[in-house]
């Protein structure tokens, strides 16, 4: 049954940005004020141009004011979603529990549903979501059939305007499928972006997810991986960079629900002088996930005296039988010792700095996949 948009409008008024403080010592890792100041923006009348750093890519879908379906890989059906009173029933998996997800459900206008047939090897497909001069909202639904194979890239770009963008993607990966669902969130330092992902994986599926994030005025990027199927394997890795003036809250959550399922999540963040980043993640092993394993490891490197950051991993175990469970986090300044070490290999100060930054940017390998020169990410 379809929910009337006015219901979501009411929820935007009623729901808080978050229900509880993030931790006893830090109330909000996201600066919600930046979103609050932009909630009344009108709909964008112009969307961003594809920036040079992405211009070499062949997009299958471009989400701007309206969805543009450029091409469909073999065995893949892509249909447009959205419109003011159109086929709107978002948040079917993730739910609407807070102000920003209600806001997205109320206002998004452009989206696609991607259906991958069973057993199809679709190669790769790239879906581009562009920001605009005011508010832009995009919604993507992925239904990936059993035993399907291929790589999906969601490129979440927001250009140099003081706009607001919401992007929600939700997907189901079928049993014994072997896919990647990768996300590049590249936001200019003027834009505020709320990105929410929710991927559920089927029995004995193998799912990988590479993340590359460069933050904006406030970028909150949360992706929840629900490893539902028995024996499902999930591996996620993230690279994120907070440039001067940028604020980011990157949250990667996993929940093992399937018996003998396996999760490995790791993230690296670099915060330049004047930037802010929270790199967070929860690894939760559910009650029914017997003999499951989950590992999460996050590290943030502060690359200047005025860089601020948090690395926050959480491990919750609800099952009595666990194969493996680890969590680790680190946060450090670039040490004189590290600079000396790199310089002793023949690199100048600037080259050592760039190597550290590009190393973190290329950690998830998504920059390589998309053929993005790592230092170009700094100039988005």
């Amino acid at each position: 049954m379809k929910t009337d948009r006015s219901t979501y409008a009411r929820l935007v008024e009623e729901l808080p940005y978050q229900h509880i403080a993030d931790t006893p010592t830090v109330k909000h890792y996201t600066d919600w004020k930046v979103f609050d100041e932009r909630l009344n923006l009108p709909f964008s009348t112009e969307v961003d141009r594809v920036p040079g750093v992405l211009s070499h890519l062949s997009f299958n879908v471009i989400l701007g004011l309206d969805p543009v379906i450029v091409s469909r890989p073999r065995g893949v059906v892509i249909e447009a979603l959205g419109g003011e009173a159109g086929n709107v029933e978002p948040m079917s998996l993730a739910g609407v529990h807070d102000k920003m997800s209600a806001y997205h459900a109320y206002r998004w206008r452009s989206g696609v549903i991607v259906e991958v047939e069973e057993g199809v090897d679709f190669g790769s497909m790239i879906l581009l979501s562009l920001g605009g001069d005011a508010y832009t909202g995009h919604h993507i639904i992925l239904n990936i059939g059993d035993e399907a194979r291929g790589k999906i890239y969601i490129v979440d770009y927001a250009g140099p305007s003081k706009g607001l963008k919401t992007l929600v993607f939700e997907g189901i990966v079928g049993g014994e499928a072997d896919v990647e669902v990768n996300v590049a969130s590249l936001h200019s330092r003027e834009h505020a972006v709320y990105t929410l992902g929710h991927i559920a994986t089927g029995r004995r599926s193998t799912v990988a997810s590479k993340i590359l994030a460069a933050g904006g005025a406030m970028s909150r990027v949360q992706i929840d991986y629900i490893v539902e199927g028995e024996g499902a394997v999930f591996k996620g890795s993230a690279s994120s960079i907070a440039r001067p003036g940028a604020k980011m809250d990157i949250i990667l959550n996993s929940i093992n629900k399937g018996a003998e399922s396996s999760v490995t999540l790791s993230g690296r963040g670099a915060v330049l002088n004047g930037g802010y980043m929270a790199l967070r993640g929860s690894a939760i092993i559910g009650r029914e996930a017997r003999w499951a394993s989950s590992e999460i490891e996050l590290h943030v490197t502060l690359m200047g005296e005025a860089a601020r950051g948090h690395a926050v991993p959480i491990l919750e175990i609800h099952s009595g039988d666990v194969a493996k469970a680890n969590h680790a986090a680190g946060i450090s300044h670039v040490l004189e010792e590290q600079r000396f070490y790199l310089k002793s290999r023949g690199l100048s100060d600037e080259e050592a700095f760039n190597l550290l930054v590009s190393g973190i940017i290329s950690y998830s390998e998504l920059a390589d996949d998309l053929a993005i020169y790592t230092l170009d990410v700094l100039n988005v």
Binding site: E336, Q338, K343, G346, L347, G359
Partner: protein, 251 residues
């Protein structure tokens, strides 16, 4: 010719860590620098590499007869001086292979440091890694992150082989290694000598020197040279201890 340290006095903050130290490391020789903890062995290596905070109060450091005192660390490295650190730091985000590629590209004058311009380089990295007992999977891991003590030592040696320096300073390359590991390191050091490199081998114990025959041994205590001799000096240190050797040489 090779490396020459002349009357070198160095302070860190306000503390003198080296006093009038002089030594020569000629090409095709191994010069062992021994001393107890805190004697200034690592400070000597850092001063030679021009590490920040190691202020040269007087004296000189010369490479092939030319002073390198005014060169920055990376410039000394590019001139052919290499340090294998005793406890190398973790470098999150930078893979070991990426570091080697960048350092190699820099020496070759490539504009993009991290671009793999020569596929043979990867093959060579793998071959060398295997030959020194370093798991090749570590090439794809971040530098020293999660490496054991022995893996860190082998990684330092791998980089030394790949970068092919003229002067190789190895700071306690045997610590954290088992006997087989020590023998491999010893073989590598002997090989360096055979190739005409100048090797400065910093070591705390003489156990590595049972497998490598140094040409010259210098003993440092409290930042000063207290004894110098041939390979037999290392055996004397092992037998008598540092203080006794100091008394024997200094009276």
């Amino acid at each position: 010719m090779g490396l020459e340290v002349v009357d070198l006095t160095v302070k860190v903050r306000d503390k003198l860590v080296l006093r009038k130290v002089s030594l020569k490391v000629d090409y095709g020789t191994i010069h062992a620098v021994m001393g107890p903890n805190g004697s200034g062995k690592s400070s000597l290596a850092y001063a030679i590499m021009g590490r920040e905070g190691y202020e040269v109060v007087e004296g000189d450091i010369r490479l092939d007869g030319e002073s390198i005192l005014n060169l920055e660390t990376h410039e000394r490295a590019l001139k052919g001086v290499y340090i294998g650190m005793q406890d190398p730091p973790v470098v999150p985000g930078v893979k070991l292979s990426t570091l080697i590629v960048a350092a190699t590209n820099k020496r070759r004058g490539e504009s993009e440091l991290t671009k793999m311009s020569d596929p043979r380089l990867v093959k060579r990295m793998q071959l060398v890694s295997s030959s020194i007992g370093l798991n090749t999977e570590l090439l794809h891991r971040e530098v020293n992150v999660g490496f054991s003590g022995g893996e860190r030592k082998r990684s330092e040696i791998l980089q030394a082989i790949m970068l092919d320096p003229k002067i190789v300073i190895l700071d306690e390359p045997d610590s954290g290694l088992d006997i087989d590991g020590i023998k491999k390191v010893a073989d590598y050091i002997s090989d360096l000598k055979a190739k005409g490199k100048a090797v400065m081998l910093i070591t705390h114990y003489a156990r590595l020197l049972q497998h490598v025959m140094p040409d010259v041994v210098t003993v440092l205590i409290d930042g000063e040279v207290v004894a110098r001799g041939g390979s037999k000096l290392a055996l004397l240190v092992e037998e008598k201890g540092y203080n006794e050797v100091k008394k024997m040489y200094r009276g």
